[in-house]
Structure formats: C-alpha cells, structure tokens
Symmetry: D2
C-alpha cells in the first residue's frame, strides 16, 4: 500500500486502522511561520467525530489530537508535523464474524487478494476513521490558505432525493444542523427520511459540495497535475465516492457551447466571468471564479438488513452486518471533502510559486 | 508546468504544442521484452487523427509516429521510449487575433496570468493535439495489458441528449461509425443532430465510457493512489472533461445500500459479483468485475458564433472564433480516455507487483 | 522541509526533533506478510542508543519503540507502519545560549535563514536523534532483505588515523567493542586516542563501511536512480557525512583501466568476478559481487573548546559549547549507515520487480 | 528503467542510446520567461562533443541540438522543453563482437540479467552519449541560475597522479586546454602522461571539481533531500563516478573538530565564514560560502589491451575492445558534472521558494 502519501510539496503521509492503537498523519513541507495550535486541528476533527447525533455511529471517541513535532513557540518550523489521535472505544469483538466473510460493498475480498490477509477489525485501514489523518492535515492547509484570503466551504448538497434549494442557501445553517446542509427546511425533511431508511435497516446515498473563494488565477499544472485532475484524485480517494464533478459536472454532456462558455467581463477594472459553468477552472487552472466541486457518495455499504454474499471458504452465505455504522456517509464526510480540497489547492499553490522567472527573482533577489 | 509527467513506475512525460515543430512523449519504465513496432502506435494514433470525417476539424495531419529510442530488434529494452509526431499543417495566421483576446471557455486568460505570456498559436499546449503523447503511450500500455489478458474498450456513450441504448450495444460498431458509438441507430441520429448544431455555428457536449475486462483483483493502492482515484486524475486531466464517474456514478447519491451493494456469488468455483454497481472497484481496488468509468465532456469552447469576452487591454469585445475546430470533443477523445485508462492501470499493476512478500520471493528466489 | 520522505515504493517519512515530545517514522509500501515485532526494531535502535559507553553522550534515553499501525497478528499488513519513540531525558535549558548564537560547523545559521527561525533545543531536527526514524525503518528493510538472502554488515573502519587492518578483520568483534570496529587491536588503540581527544575538549573524524552480500544482479535503475546514485543520496543525507565512496572509491582517480577492471570468471558454473574494485556495482546496477560503500564523517562540530563565531545580532563572539555530545560520530552512526543501505536496496529491489515483462507474467498469470 | 527522470520541480527526462536514431531530453517545470535559444544549449553541448582532440574518441558527431517545444518568441513558456540531438556517425559493426561477451568494467552483464537482453551497439543506454540529455538540460538550468547571480565553474582537478596546483589556479585556462584543467603546466604534464597511457593501450582515472558561487543561504531540504545528498545522487549517477566529496571530503575522517569547524565572522556587515572546510554546505543546506564538490572517475573501462572475461555461453575468453573510445573520462565529463550541479541546485532553489509563509505571501499578496 505505497499509496498513503499525497502531495508534491505539501505532502501528507497518513496511517492507522480503525482498531489499532492510534491513527495519524505526518505533514511534510508545511511552510515555516504559520501560527498553529492543537485547537486549530481539533475544531476540524470535531466536525467528523462520531456519536454526535442520531445519524452517526454510536462509537464514542473523543478524537483528541496531539501535535508531536514541527511546531515551536506556537508556529510551524518547516519540519515535519506529526499528529496523532488515539483510538479508545474499540469493540473489536463486534467484528469477529467478518473475519471469514466478505461483506458486500466492502473491500474485504480485495484486501485478502491483494495482501494475502487483512486486519478485519472494523474494516482496518478502509474504515472511515482513516480520514482522521486527512482532516488533521486539512486543518493546517486551510489555515495557510486563509492567510492568503482563500476560503473553503463544504456542505451536504443532497441526501437521497432530498436536495438543497440553492435559492434558500444559508451558509450559517451548515454547522447548525446535524446533516451539515445549508438549507434548514431540506435538512429537516432529509432527517425524517433518514429515520425511515434506518428503520428499514437500510442506508442511503448523498452528495457533498465544496466552494472555494479567493483563488488566484492560474493555479494548477497542465497537463496531468491540473487543478481539476488533482481535486478529482483527492476527492475520489475518499471512501465511498463514486463521482467527482467540476462546475456544471455531468450536465455539460448535454450543453451547447454557446450556453456553457462563460463570457469574460470587466468588473471594477478586473477581469471576471459573467457566469460560472466552468466551476472556476479552465484548462486545468483556476480562472478566478469560485471553485465548485461535487462528490457523490454511495450509501453506507454496512447495513443491518440481511444480504447474500460468500465466505473465505468459498461458500455462499447470508449475513446481516452488526456493529456500529452510519446510515449515510455524506454529512460526516463534509469536512473530509473540504480537507482534501484544502490540501490539494495549497500544494498546487506552492508548486505554482515557481511558474515564472519573475517569481523566483521576487524571492531571491 | 511541472505537471507533464504521469505515473509512478510506468511514467510518461509528454511535450509539444499545437503549432510547434512536433509533439511527443517519453515513456520511462516500460518493462523490457514487449514486442513493439511503430505500427502498434500508429493504429492508436489514427483513431484520434483530425480530418477524417464531417465531424472533425479540417486540419490535415498524417500524425506519423517515429520511435527514436528504447526498442531494439523489435522489442522494448527497458530504457526510455521516445516517440515523436511532426506537425505539418499549421495555419498559424488563423490564430493571430486570439493573441490579444481571451476566448470564452478557453485557458488563454489563465495561461497569461500563470506564465506572464503564452504561445497563442492554436491553443499552444492546451490544444487537443497535446493528447498525441497520451495516445502513443497508451498504445504501449494497452499492448502490455493485453499480454496479461486485460482488454480495454472505450466508446462514445452520448452526444447531447442522444445516448446509446445498452440493449442494442454492438461492440463491432464502435470503429465502424464516425462517432465511435456502439449503437448504429443512435450514431446516425446523433450525426444528424450534430449537423444541425454545426449549422447553428454551435457545439455540443458528450460522454465517453471505458470498460476494462480481465482485471486481477486488488489493483489500486489505498488510500490516495486508489484505482478509482488515479483513473479520476488521469481522465479529468483530459481537456474539457468536467466529471468522472465510476460504476453507477452520480446516481449512487440516490441509491439505497440494499440496492447498491453487489452480492458476492460463487460461479464455477470462483468468487464473482451478481451485479456491478461498483464499476469493478471496491475500497479503491479492482474487485474482479469489469471496470466501468465514464467521462463527461463539455461542448467544444471554440464556436463560430459571436460571443462576448474581453481582450488583454481590459476592454469588453465580441469575437467569433475562426480557424478549424471540431463541433464535439467526445468521439475523437474516445481513444484518449482508453489510453489514460491503460496507462493508469498498467502503472498500478506494476506497483501492486510488490504488495506481498510472496510476490518478491516469486521473483527473486 | 519537504525533504523528509525517502524511497519510491518502500517509502519512509521521518519526523521529530531532539527535544520535542517524540520522534518517529511512517513506513509506507512495506510488502504484506513480513513477520514483525517491536523487538525486531528495538535490536536495531539499541545499537544507536546514547549513554552506552565512555565515547557517547551522557543523555539517558531508553529509546523504546512502539508500533502503532500496519502490523496485525505478528505480520505486516501492507498498510503504513507507524513507529514512535518518546523523548525522555531532555535538558532543554542546556541549550538556551545557542538560541541566539550560531555554532560553528552546525546548521543554526542556515535554519534561521531558510525558515525565519528555528527550534534551537538540542539542534532540533538536525540532531543525531533524527536518525531514530531511519533506523526503525532500516530494521524492517533489513528483515525483508534477509528473507531473500541479502545480508548487511556495517562497521567503523577508521577513527582519525586509526584504521582497521583488513587482514585482521573479525566480524564477531563488531558488536563486541564500544567503537563497532571489526579489529580488536585497532579499536583499543583508537579508544585510547579518543580519550586524549576528549581531554583536549576536541572531537575527531571517522569512517564507516557497509558490505552487502547476496545481491541479485541488475538491481538499480539507470540513469538517475542507479544503485550507487541512491546509496550516495541516502548516505550523504546522514548528518556529518562529507564523502561517499563505492568500491575503490577516491583511489580510482589514480588507477589504470587494466588494474581497475574486474575480470569476469566462471566459478562453479556461475559468472563471478575475479576482483571487486567496482564494489559490486557496474553501470549503476548490482553486479553480483558484494556491495561495498564507505562514508566519511566529519568530527563532531560540538566541542567544549572555545571557538570564534557570531550571534544573531551580528556580533563576533567566542563560545564553548555546553550540553552533552559525542566526541566522534562514526561508531553510533554505523547502524544508521546500515539502515540507509537496507532501505535503499529494498526499494530498488521492489522497483526492479517490474523490469521485465516476464516478471509481470510470473506474478499475474 | 524507471530511473531516467530527475528532479522534483525542475524535472528532466532523458532518453536515447549510443546507436539509436537520436538522443534527447524533456525538461518539465522550467519557469516561464527565461530567454533561451538553441545557441545557449549548443555552447554547452560543444564542451562534451567527441573528436575534438587527441584525447577523445574519433567518433565524429556535430551534436546539433533542436528545440522542439516550450520556447516561443525566444522565451521559455513554462511548458515542457523537448530537445533532440540526432546520431550521425554510428559504426555499429565495430560492436558486433560485444553482443555475445561481457566487457570487464562495463554493464553488459548487468543489463542482460536485468532486462533479459540489451542493445549492445556502442553500450546502448550506458554509453557516454547518454549525457547529452543531461548537458542540454544543464545549459538551461545554468542560464536560470545566472539570472539570480549563481555561477558554476567545473574543471579537471587531476589525471592519474597529476593534480592541479591550487596556488596556480587560472580560471581562464579551463577552456583553453584540451583537458579542461585550470593549471596550464599541469595540463601539459598530464597530456604527456596520457599519451604514454594510450600507447600502453591502457586508460587512467581522473577527478573533476565544481565550484558554485553566489548561493543564497538555506538551499537544500533536510533530511533526505539535503543539498549535499542530492548533489551526491546527481553526480554519482554519472557513468564511471565512484566517489563524491563535499568540501574537505574524505580527509574529514582524520580531522579534528577544532580544525574542521569553520568560524563564522562578520565581513562588511554580513555573516561569512573564515574558512570553508564545509564546502558551502552545513546541515544539508547552503551556508553562503562557495559550494565545492568533487567527483572521482574510474579509468575508461574500454581498453585496447587484451583482458580476461566470459561470454554469454558461460565460457572464459580473452578480448581486446575495438571501436572508438577515450583513454580518460574526466575531461569530457567536466560539463556533465557542471550540468548535474546546475540542475540539482535550481531544483532545490525552486523547492525552497515555499519554505516560509512569508515567501508565499510575497508571491500571492
């Protein structure tokens, strides 16, 4: 699994399993001089913490972060920042039965084939708890971006067929409801629907959006490390995501050029765009408009309902998954999407710093 | 633009602009001993060649490939394979007027902001001709994969609202019609529609799918280099793609777990899946079912219709884009999508070779 | 400091400062199925532990390692292995005076210029304690290599002018004397000399060699990731190393081809070499003979003697460095050199696994 | 051979064999806005061209470079720069006999074992002609560095036992004598000695030094991408190099701390060092003094003298190597060492651009 490292200059290396001793991340390449405290990280981690409401797993974890290196006198030093969260409330016995069976919609079978065996406790490395490292690193990236006037805002866009009404978009509502939706009415309707789904012992899909404002123009490295390409990698790498869309996303396949093209205009002497079908990205580079990216999450594969599957002995069986699991993935993944966007954008911002000889001269002469 | 290199072990480095002397690619890390000729590459390149029918640009290029290194006595040697295609039919004067204006939907403005200036001739590096290097490398990757029984098949899935009827899917039809659709009826209807769009001086969006069969289980490196994550990067990096979907894609956001989960079954003693909502990928690793990935292409931003925009001097202007351009991107990009899938999968297959101590022992003991 | 990650497939990410809470490493990409315990790591770490004899710093650290992830039921799982060692005996006040002065031969000045400030306690990240992560990762790499019959042996070759007599080379002696020299007589003479150096409040240089046997032929990736090139990077990256030599090293500049060329011979039906001036590497690839690599360490820059230097205020001052420090670097770095060799060789062994189509077929068909 | 790519932000990808159609390099990540012409590259390439004097191979190559992309209106555009040199004077028949035998001191045997076969014509990829790509890229890097006041000067330091007298160092002499030595007297004596070596049908070793002035302080990324570590990789990767030394190099192993430590002093209000034993690098970062790095080259392994070796059939044979080859490697490698230093330093300079939050703010705010 030589795949737990992400980023070129702002590089994160995550580690940890659902039922191991701890989970964490090493952030290498964070610029020196960024004011940083454990509290900055904790605020982000709390947004993904389990057990906070009716719609999330009963697992009880404080998810308290410790910074072990790379910060001195309240500022980053430029050396690797190691962060750690200890696991506390592991009920490993709950998972004993999945050691020998392959849960539908899960990676159990793939892990066994790839590695010869697997840490089956709570999904091991494929647990949602794996995202702790992403979020801790994302909190740092977001803090650096904020220094440069770049702000991220992610939220739940839809749950099943319950989609927010953009005309009622209320930013302040996002952190106020348990589903992280920017539309109170929709969140209530979706909440009621979710309860039905849960009482059916089932789960449901969802979508999450992230908007990034304040972007400089030209961020992204054609042709393979384009901004949209790396956002796609970063977001698709989050467990359960099955689609990534930029701007108008899948609907562009039915659009005409005369509609889809955003006209450039002059506003107060600056170049802007009259519309934003592009989602803030043209040719793989930021175009100055807000970045708009959307992730579609599949329904939680762990359901209490009985399902058909097979075991390691090659027999067809039925199983109902016990243990603690969320009926929906999107809401708790909102901060994960935001974190992957922050990490990706900061990394590309750093890479872009040397795009012009003028920039090098600005720094060294 | 330190972004023109892709892949970890099977690494491609593409270069070239629309109106430069040539375009090409260096493939580093191709295993030694693969039978390879220029003809193998040419077959792939011919699938993206311009000027072949009513729906593609009139630019006339033979796109003849030369292999300059890395092949000896008809086989790859393990050293870098350098391939080159010369540009022939550049009408650079056609593009003089876009030197000072920013075409809507194009990257002109972003390039100027990022680099201080740009090669404006024919879009420079952001031209569709940039994909020549991808396709030449993709031809090699596909050839290696074929050796291992892995086959790729890409096709146009939809053009505007004209979508193929899967019940009439005819693989043999793909290379038989100018739109690369596996449904003859649909391709004819879409072709007629395209002519309308062209006579309106407009362009239209489309979607392309790629199916990969014969995959071993467990390919993909959690958590950031998952198979779906890197396919998303690779495909989103193709110009004009605004969405990447795996399996059921965006529709998972409205699915229930009991529907979306694919049951494992035993078929002839082997583990298979009863359905394939996952698109052949679970937990970021191949699950043995066919990989199914879909790209949504925006309409060609270059249209003959008059559009509002601004120029470098900061004035609002209108412009109608001259020069030669396709009214649709998908069909000519079919082979590009297939190539990016081949490159990504081969690279991950190579990385996976050392996932188990047993594999190392198989090779060295 | 985006430089704390090393390796392409077997990737290590080290972190931690001399006086922070802890130091550690995340190993990503270790093959699954390797038997591994904390004891395996501890044996290696104990070889670099301070306070073990008259020639090493009085700092008292147990350097007890904890494995936090990536190992299940006594075997590596293929997921990242996180290891941590807590700092215990920090005397941070000893270092207060160096906060405002630049010690000669140290990186204080460079850190301040690069990052704007530095963690001055005990040298921060540039302390010898930084090597804990390297050694913990090296222990794993050495274990994997051993499975394939590859063995590493490092030792102190010289201390000042006291160099081992190769005709008296005694492998068993290496771990028996405090200076890790394979020549008892030499180690005693060198030990006496070291005491003199210490009573002069001075320090002395040294050299360390590593021999690797059992190498398959062809390991190393021309032209930039050659075996010797990456060994040079890995070893030169160890603090205080000022030269890396392969085989005959610097003396080749005075050799003739007729002497330096090693004749190939047939021995028991196998190709071998009559001599080994090449140090086991030809054209950047292992040639089947033992790898021989040598590092030259400068004398410890921290000395008790008074030295001239400057402070942050730009004044010339004199300083005598207090605190605890070794009079010599080589002996405690023996296991660090061995570790960097093990990590580098394992990584290249893994990369080489896909050098031939035949190897891919061996694994996948 | 996934090893032909070098550098993190300023990335070079070299390709080509001695007797293939051409050799070349793709430079990705060169900052935009650097004035660049083919003449800039040619000047560098001419310094390594064969057939220029009595001490270099009779092979006759004009080594004319073509820039195929990445430069527009005389300036780099930020897109990949592809450069190509065609092979002209291949005498492939000269090498027919080495197809089935393993030349001592060469990589023939390693290639066969690694890849299953090899392009035996003129050494294929392990020929000295492989360095053409390095030098073409080095010319660009040196040009960018010059813009920032950083200058490189490499020269032959010794040939056999003939070493330059530093008290007679004459920079102007370097390009004036066929051996690129900065000491006329020494170059004449060495030249006479070389003729003797040649008449003995033998070859001789040599050493090359590179001095870099004008370095900013703090360049280099601890702990694995230190400036000295990457210079060691870059230089050791050049064919025939067996040792890399920084500053005092191997002699530090016999030095005392009180001697080896360079005192910091104040000179005209700036921090400088009274001596430069460190070779301009402390803690893996530039310290403001001139960088001093030295490479030791083994004697050319191809000699006309008869040698013992084996053939592919596993028989012991004797062979005298025909074809055209230099009796010494150092002089023609002077520009290669300079190039690898330039590439390495520019890359680290670019990476360092984001070491401080202040730098990011300088660029984006």
């Amino acid at each position: 699994m030589a795949g737990s490292i992400y980023g070129k200059l702002f590089t994160i290396s995550t580690w940890g399993e659902s039922h191991g001793k701890a989970l964490g991340v090493v952030v290498d390449g964070c610029p020196a001089g960024v004011p940083l405290s454990e509290e900055d990280i904790q605020i982000y981690l709390n947004r993904r913490k389990p057990g906070q409401n009716a719609f999330s797993t009963k697992r009880n974890e404080s998810d308290t972060v410790e910074i072990l290196s790379g910060v001195f006198e309240g500022k980053t030093t430029g050396t690797p920042i190691s962060m750690l969260v200890k696991n506390q409330d592991q009920h490993s016995k709950d998972y004993g039965d999945i050691a020998v069976s392959y849960r539908p919609g899960h990676a159990d079978y793939c892990f066994d084939e790839k590695y010869g065996f697997r840490d089956y406790r709570g999904g091991g490395r494929s647990s949602g708890r794996e995202t702790i490292g992403r979020v801790a690193a994302g909190a740092i990236a977001a803090k650096v971006l904020e220094t440069m006037g770049i702000k991220l805002m992610a939220y739940t866009r839809s749950i099943g067929e319950y989609c927010i009404d953009y005309s009622k978009f209320d930013k302040g509502e996002i952190l106020n409801n348990p589903l992280y939706m920017p539309d109170k009415e929709c969140s209530e309707a979706a909440g009621n629907y979710l309860k039905e789904v849960m009482s059916d012992l089932d789960s449901i899909g969802s979508s999450v959006e992230c908007i990034v404002t304040g972007m400089p123009v030209g961020i992204g490295e054609p042709v393979f490390s384009k901004l949209d390409a790396l956002l796609a990698q970063g977001i698709m790498s989050i467990g359960a995501v099955k689609a990534v869309e930029i701007g108008d996303g899948v609907s562009v396949r039915e659009s005409k050029g005369s509609y889809n093209n955003d006209s450039f205009i002059i506003n107060n002497g600056s170049i802007e765009k009259a519309t934003n079908h592009s989602g803030g990205i043209l040719g793989g580079m930021s175009d100055g408009s807000p970045i708009k990216v959307r992730a579609s999450f599949k329904p939680t594969p762990s359901i209490y309902k009985e399902q058909k599957t097979v075991n390691k002995a090659g027999e067809e069986i039925t199983m109902a998954i016990k243990g603690r699991h969320d009926p929906i993935i999107g809401p708790r993944a909102v901060v994960v999407v935001e974190s992957m966007c922050a990490i990706t954008i900061l990394d590309l911002l750093m890479v872009n710093a040397t795009s012009k000889l003028d920039n090098l001269i600005k720094i060294y002469n």
